[in-house]
Symmetry: C2
DNA sequence: TTGTAGGCGTTATCAC
DNA sequence: GTGATAACGCCTACAA
C-alpha cells in the first residue's frame, strides 16, 4: 500500500460498503440520494482525508470551469482594475481565472492562446497586444465553439462580442471641451492606429476640430507608445515646434502626466500656455498639479461585465452573437484646476 | 461517429499504423523515436487537427504545471507589479498562474485555498489578507508536500519561506530621516498590527524615535485600514489634535497622499508645518506636490523572485526550508521637495 | 434509491 | 525503436 496514494471515492465506497457512483452523487448533493447516506459519505470523506480531484472531474466532464485571460500587461491601473472585476465575478460563479500577459507582443499572445487552448479553458477574455494585426490565433477557439470576448482593445469579428466604451464620442467630447475653453491649436498624442481605442479617440478628436471650425494638420498628431517615456519625448517635440499648440489631448493619462510635467519643468504654464487632457481617469490625474481633465471609465466595471457575459453564455449557452458590441458608459471628468482662466 | 469528438493520439496512431505510445513519445520529442516517425506524427497531428489534452496529461502525471496565487487585492500598484513579475517568470518556465483575491477577508482566503487545493496546483504564492490570524487553511498543502511561499504579508512557519523586505529597517530609516530634518513630533499611521509589514514598520519607527532621543506616546499612533479614505479621516484627527505633529510617517503611499492633500487643503503647509513620508514608492509619490519621500521596493522584483524560488523547488525538489526568510533590498527615496527648508 | 460498467486522453512500465 | 496494457479518479447512461 502506497502511503502517498490519494483517497478516492472508491476508498470511501469500500469503507461504507456502497458503490463509488453513490459516493460521487452524494458528494455532489445529488437529489436522489438519501440524507442518511449523504451524511455517512461526507463524514467518511472528511475522516479519510478525501480531496476532490478537479482534474479527473474536468477530464471526464470535458469542462474546466476555468476562464482564460490574456491582456497586454497586468500592471496598469486600468488593467488591474479590470482583472480585479473579472476575478470577483468569476470567483462568485465558481470559475477560476488563468491569467497571462502578452507584454504587448503578438508572439506571446499567440503562445498564450495556445496554452489556454490546450488547457481547455471554457472561454477567453482578451484585450489585444499593441501590434496584433489579425486574430487567426483565436480562430481555433471559435471553431470549437469556445467563446472569445474582447474588451477594451478589441477586434471586429462577428462571433466575438466587443466590450468597450465609445472611444469616438469620448475623444470628441474631451476635444470639444478644450476648444470651448478657447484653445485654437489642439495637438493630439495617440498610439498605434491599428488599435480601435486609439483610432477612435483620434477620429473623435478630428471630428470635434472640424465641427468647431478648426482645421487639422499632420503636425498636430504625435504617435508614440503612450508610455511615460513617450510623454517626455513628446514634450521635447512640442517645445521644438515653431507654432506650439495651446492644448494637448493625450490618449492616455500616464503619458499625459509625464508630458505635462516635463513641459512644466521647462517653464511652460499649464493650463495657461498649454491646456492638457488625458484619458482613463488614472489615480494620478487627481494628484498631479494642475489636476488632469480626463475620461473616466471604470476598469473594474468593464472587467465585471466581460466576465458576466462570458459566464452567462457558458451557463445557458446563450447566443453570443446577440450581444455584439457592448458600450459602457464613460464620463468626461473636468478638473477645475486644469481649465484655462 | 460523433463529429464533435476530439482527435486523440489513438486516432493519429491508427492513421499511421503505429501505437499510441509511440505517438505520445513522438509528440514529446522523446529521444528513442526515429526522426522519420516523429515527422510523420507531427504532420498527421497537424493535418488531423489534433490538440494536446493537458487535462488528461495532468491527471496521469499527477501534476498541473500550475501555480496558485492568492493576494488581498489585485488592483494595487504594488500587487499588480508583483503579479506581473510572477507571470513573466512562470510563463517562461512553462507554468500557468491561477489567480484569486481574498479581498482582505480570511473567509475568501480559505475558500480560495480550497479551490486551489482541489485544482491540484503544484505550489502556492500567498500574500495574506488583512485579518488572517492563523494559516491552518494552508496546512493541507504543507502536509501533502505542496510548497507554500508567503511574500510581503507573511506568516512565520518553518516549512514556508517568507519573501519580504526589512520592514523594520525601512521604518527606522524613514523615521530617522524625518527627525534629521529637525522634526520633533513624528506621528505614525499604520495598519493591523497582526500583519508583519505594519508591525515591523511601527517597531522601526519607535526605535528610531528613542534612538534619536524622542519619546513615543500613544497619541502619536493612528491605526486604520490605510485606504485613501482612511487618510482623509486621519487628516481630520490630526487637525483636531491639541499638539499637532510636525511630521507624519504613513505605512503606505496611497493613504499618505490623501492625508497630506487633505491637510494641504485645510491650509497646512507641507513640509513646512508638517513633513510627510510614505511607503511603497507608488507612482503618485512622484507626481503629488510636494513629492512624497517614501520607501522603494520593487513589487515586480518580489514577484519574480517568489516565482523563481517556487519553480526552482518544483523542478529539482529543493528543500524549501533552506531558504527561510529572504530579504529583498529596499531604498529610502528622498524627494527634495518633501524636505523641510 | 443505489449499482454496474465503460470511457475521458494521456503516460509509465514492461516487454520485445 | 516500438508496442501492449494498465492506471490516473471521476462521471453518467443504463439497469435494477
Amino acid at each position: 500500500m502506497n502511503p502517498e496514494r490519494e483517497v478516492t471515492i472508491y476508498d470511501i465506497a469500500k469503507s461504507l460498503n456502497i458503490s463509488a457512483a453513490t459516493v460521487s452523487r452524494g458528494l455532489k448533493d445529488h437529489p436522489g440520494i438519501s440524507k442518511i447516506t449523504k451524511k455517512k459519505i461526507f463524514d467518511a470523506a472528511k475522516e479519510m482525508g478525501y480531496r476532490f480531484n478537479s482534474l479527473a472531474s474536468n477530464l471526464r466532464r470535458q469542462r474546466t470551469n476555468t476562464i482564460g485571460v490574456i491582456v497586454p500587461r497586468l500592471n496598469s491601473s486600468f488593467m488591474s482594475d479590470a482583472i480585479a472585476g473579472m476575478e470577483k465575478v468569476a470567483n462568485d460563479a465558481g470559475y477560476n481565472l488563468i491569467i497571462s500577459q502578452s507584454l504587448e507582443t503578438v508572439k506571446k499572445e499567440v503562445d498564450n492562446a495556445t496554452t489556454m487552448f490546450n488547457n481547455r479553458v471554457d472561454g477567453l477574455l482578451v484585450s489585444l497586444a499593441y501590434d496584433t494585426k489579425n486574430i487567426s490565433h483565436f480562430e481555433q477557439f471559435i471553431n470549437k465553439g469556445i467563446p472569445v470576448i474582447f474588451f477594451d482593445r478589441v477586434f471586429e469579428h462577428k462571433k466575438c462580442p466587443n466590450i468597450i466604451i465609445d472611444n469616438y464620442k469620448a475623444g470628441y467630447e474631451i476635444t470639444r471641451h478644450l476648444i470651448e475653453q478657447g484653445c485654437k491649436r489642439v495637438l493630439h498624442i495617440s498610439g498605434n492606429q491599428a488599435r480601435n481605442v486609439y483610432a477612435e479617440r483620434f477620429r473623435g478628436y478630428k471630428d470635434a476640430l472640424s465641427d468647431m471650425g478648426l482645421s487639422f494638420s499632420d503636425e498636430l498628431l504625435i504617435i508614440n507608445n503612450l508610455s511615460s517615456q513617450g510623454g517626455v519625448e513628446a514634450a521635447v517635440q512640442i517645445l521644438e515646434m515653431e507654432k506650439r499648440p495651446d492644448a494637448v489631448f493625450v490618449a492616455n493619462d500616464s503619458c499625459a502626466v509625464s508630458c505635462m510635467l516635463e513641459l512644466k519643468r521647462q517653464g511652460i504654464r499649464i493650463p495657461g500656455d498649454i491646456a492638457f487632457a488625458g484619458f482613463n481617469n488614472d489615480p494620478v490625474t487627481r494628484v498631479v498639479e494642475p489636476n488632469l481633465t480626463t475620461i473616466n471609465y471604470q476598469g473594474e466595471e468593464m472587467g465585471e461585465l466581460s466576465a458576466k457575459i462570458l459566464i452567462a453564455h457558458l451557463n445557458n449557452n446563450q447566443d453570443l452573437t446577440l450581444t455584439h458590441t457592448l458600450l459602457l458608459r464613460h464620463q468626461l471628468v473636468i478638473r477645475p484646476s486644469s481649465v484655462k482662466q
